[in-house]
Symmetry: C2
Subunit: 392 residues, 2 copies
């Protein structure tokens, strides 16, 4: 294929406050490849203390950028706006918070939508296989570059919960505590299937063109289907029924192509379309494919010959809080129970919190009342172990 003839694809979408840090020039990837002149996108809130002992690393989910909350450089709301800020559960008057964007994504860290310095063209499918562990290693480089010898806490949500476990087990002692939210040590068959169908929706779209789509001819129908299916899986069956039931679309509501055959008729359909509308054009399809596959391939046991419990017991932290949600279809509660069990075997004082919510896997983004207070309490408890804590 003549790459020169392909117009530029949707560019990377780098939030205004996201800073870019150069990674080691030849960044080795778990699957065997390497990245040249790769970079990591990150944002920070609060101030690093003189003792450099108040840093929290935040690792987000599949579609999360580093813009977790508003800050001076970008007053727009972040994906965890209610959680991070002065006086909030992750209190930036006390903590220095770093959030990084995953490698393989399109929010600033190097991925398939980035320019390959060797060719001057976007990587597209020429990007090497990227893994959850690679993001963990990149995060470790960033932490060290910021002059932090030990993190007070690593917080991981969803896919970021996988990244956090990978980091902790590969770098014992790098953190003192951990909060794992709706995370897992590996994907279930059902979650693999749901993501596999999303990838298939994209790659089945003729406009995908083996990754050589352009801005004018992007695989938007495939991305739409993929995101709608993703959205459906992020909440619970019960929530959809309670929120939308069988409510028909009002005549006044705009729906995509309402006169088309088999157009949406129920509010639940319109809602999924609207969520997809917000997403298409803001996430690169090739990045979607790479990161989605990385989640499926991740297995914490890879580090220990398949023994997940052995891997978990390597996390040399003092305290952990592991949170799961009763209605989570993608990262079911038994997976958080496994994390807690493994951490306890490694003598980590582990608190588990089973949240009863209809909001499924996305509850941590939607159900602030249930997540905010326990996260705040946990962070207060680890702060009070420090000698300078007023509450100690």
């Amino acid at each position: 294929m003549d790459h020169q003839s392909v117009p530029d694809m949707p560019a990377e979408i780098i939030p205004p406050a996201t800073r870019l840090m150069a990674l080691a020039d030849r960044f080795q990837l778990k699957a065997g490849g390497e990245l040249h002149r790769a970079r990591l996108g990150y944002e920070t809130w609060g101030r690093l203390s003189p003792a450099r002992d108040n840093a929290i690393l935040l690792l987000g989910g599949f579609s999360a950028s580093a813009h977790a909350a508003s800050n001076a450089d970008d007053p727009s709301a972040g994906w965890w706006e209610r959680m991070i800020g002065p006086g909030k559960p992750i209190d930036t008057d006390r903590w220095f918070v770093i959030c990084i964007a995953s490698l393989g994504g399109c929010f600033g860290s190097t991925g398939p939508a980035s320019i390959n310095p060797a060719t001057g063209q976007r990587y597209r499918l020429g990007f090497p296989e990227v893994s959850i562990e690679d993001t963990a290693e990149a995060a470790v480089q960033a932490v060290r570059r910021l002059g932090i010898a030990q993190l007070a806490c690593v917080i991981g949500t969803s896919m970021g919960g996988m990244t956090a476990l990978s980091l902790l087990c590969r770098h014992p002692g790098l953190a003192r505590s951990h909060i794992n939210i709706s995370g897992a040590c590996q994907a279930t068959a059902f979650a693999i299937a749901i993501r596999s169908l999303q990838r298939q929706a994209i790659t089945s779209d003729p406009e995908w063109r083996e990754g050589y789509y352009s801005r004018a001819t992007a695989p938007s129908a495939g991305m739409r289907l993929a995101r709608m299916l993703g959205t459906l899986s992020y909440r619970s069956i019960e929530e959809w029924d309670i929120r939308f039931g069988r409510t028909p679309i009002g005549r006044e509501r705009a729906v995509p192509n309402p006169k088309a055959s088999f157009a949406p008729e129920f509010m639940i359909e319109t809602y999924l379309h609207q969520q997809a509308d917000r997403f298409i054009g803001r996430y690169d399809p090739n990045c979607y494919l790479y990161l989605s596959r990385a989640i499926d391939r991740f297995d914490l046991g890879d580090q220990t010959g398949g023994d997940i419990m052995a891997a978990l017991s390597r996390a040399a932290i003092d305290q952990a809080l592991v949170i799961g949600v009763t209605s989570d279809l993608l990262f079911p509660l038994c997976q958080q129970e496994m994390i807690a069990e493994g951490l306890r075997r490694g003598d980590v004082a582990t608190e588990t919190l089973r949240i009863t919510s209809l909001r499924g896997h996305d509850a941590f983004l939607a159900d602030f009342e249930q997540f905010g207070p326990p996260i705040g309490r946990f962070l207060t408890s680890i702060a009070c172990r420090q000698p300078d804590c007023a509450n100690a």
Copy 2:
């Protein structure tokens, strides 16, 4: 569009033993249209008794033909082979069993893949809107044509459970008893969403061509995605994990296009592809769209100004058995509980059976041990109310 230039689409797939019965020449449809010279596909097992009082009507699910079991004209296994036959739970030594194919499908009853007698061309999207109630009315015509004044039992599975309720509530007294299996009075928001995405997968495939696909250029990628998503929803999350876990695809296994980018890697993915392989080319895409939408639009309360309980209480039968499955994602247990409650309000002696199974919505097709005996017992109990019953 020039219809003449479009080659014939995949023909209707009429099982060898399926007989075709002409419906009333101008068959009125619930949505307002009418069908001319429409026909209904059906199969039978056993013999109608001299008193014509031993007939059971069986109404199947979305993708079920009338070939529910093997018979003299077609020895191939039917979709409920273990349930129907001499000495089986639906004992054809005792009962005369009639199974019909749904209107709007492609298994013999008139649908979008049938020839429109007015044009000599297949209906495609020129087919009028067809509803669950229309199949119920067609079934009633068939029953009467076969000389049956009253059915001993109406059995409905999945979508057929909707059809059965519609029939019973519209024709009080037509049946003496009812078995409803994983049925519902209306679809939930989640089930609508799952089916809506399946329809979108088909209509997003450029090869669908607004229904004017040909045998050479059928929307097979869309049908593949649709069927894979359907299959995923027919079982339970737990079953996928127990059956497949994270087992990778063996090198020896054939997978579609294994060298393709983002090709399947896990057994769960291959399994879904294999199930789709069996389905594509055996189900007409336009029929898929019409019947899928008919399920979403069905609401038993349409007969009673929205009052489902009032509709259910109209079913003037003596006895009912309502079966649901704990892990059913599409027709959840609360829907079968609603059916039972409504029937009881109409003074129907209603037994409910809550089956604990990992096999989800499809349990009635897969978990014979749990469904066979109670169905057999129920039918024995209604047989013994007849004066000539040896066990009476």
